[in-house]
Symmetry: C2
Subunit: 194 residues, 2 copies
DNA sequence: GGAAAGCTTCAGTCTTTCTTGAAACTACAG
DNA sequence: CTGTAGTTTCAAGAAAGACTGAAGCTTTCC
């Protein structure tokens, strides 16, 4: 039985990210630990986390290690206290940015390099030729998305938020850009699926 | 022992998406089935998939059901053949779009509604007050990202690709937009992380 | 109607991943 | 040094999830 306990609102939030964790390939424990740290007023140490979530101390230790590997928590030390305290970045945009970066490094980059190396092989059959064609399409899409994401990410948080904030304006600005650069936008063409 | 077999390039691609599947919360089987369908020249039926991947017929059936629920495969019928044939959209951008939409519906929307309902509660303590503050930040970020994503998604594939293709130009267009709408952009400010 | 083809469901088995307590490690204080 | 507070590692048990074969549907064809 815990001596410290979480208020209902906080508990609900933590539980939700536990569930979500599973759907995301992250484990439930890690999801809950991060949710807890995220909504906490102050940095927490491992014992506090273990007690509030009723996990074993070692489980918390592993979860925190994982979160550190993802660069999602920052380590703090309180004067006169040898324990390690953990907190999440104050800026939610920063969290999003780091998450995206890590995910990219771990999942997108390996996929891209697999695709690149497959594209260098000489196809030995029609099946391989067609497979390469599809892989090239996938590679180009991912590559394009990533290049563009780089650009957005390079903007400072405020500017990026501003870009988001533009909302529907994007479309208008786009056509304006066409006029500026002189490339006439092609419209109306609906490609028929083969 | 299979009577039909996959060429090396195709096998490698399929294997990669099997691995990736795990990291994504999708199961390995489903990842491989989709990879196979994606690089295939022609639509495949369940028996062919089961044989090529050496899965049980029932496993394939479940995987395909899952992929249909995600709207990632299309069902085809060949004249004079009662079996169901499956294929992926020809356009990779379309696949990306559907994937994003479904993920949003299944993961983002429930999170947003959890956050909204939590924000309606009256906080009973400082801990809850602060938790709500953080939840509001998270809610606003997600909401903003989604609204903006809507806009991009609403563009036809070609236009969206064009937007991506703009690359670094985005930044310039942005400041242009500021001039148009009359809001002066703040520049040069690099916020120091707290 | 009923046989056959094709698809789905499901209970049980197998595999993988989580979680834990105990032991080992580390760094510091006295 | 030695003791202690704090953290990490690890082997084993527990839980979750994936996979299968067999049985059961459904549809088509004769």
């Amino acid at each position: 039985m815990p001596t410290a306990t979480l208020p209902p609102l906080n508990r609900q939030f933590v539980a939700h990210f536990g569930e979500m964790g599973s759907k995301w390939g992250i484990n439930r424990t890690v999801g809950q630990i991060y949710a807890l740290i995220f909504i906490s007023e102050r940095a927490l140490n491992a014992d506090e986390i273990a007690e509030l979530l009723e996990f074993s101390r070692s489980n918390v230790s592993m979860g925190l290690k994982e979160l550190q590997a993802w660069r999602l928590v920052q380590l703090r030390h309180q004067p006169g206290d040898r324990r390690e305290y953990f907190e999440a970045p104050a800026d939610v945009w920063e969290i999003f940015r780091v998450l995206a970066e890590e995910r990219r490094r771990r999942e997108i980059e390996p996929t891209l390099s697999m695709l690149r190396s497959a594209l260098l092989e000489s196809p030995a059959s029609d099946a391989e030729r067609h497979a390469q064609e599809r892989m090239r399409e996938m590679h180009d899409l991912i590559d394009r998305l990533m290049k563009w994401f780089d650009d957005v990410q390079r903007l400072a948080p405020e500017t990026a938020m501003q870009l988001m904030g533009m909302g529907a304006t994007v479309t208008k600005v786009l056509s304006l850009k066409d006029r500026i650069t002189g490339s006439a936008p092609k419209k109306k063409k609906k490609p028929a699926a083969g």
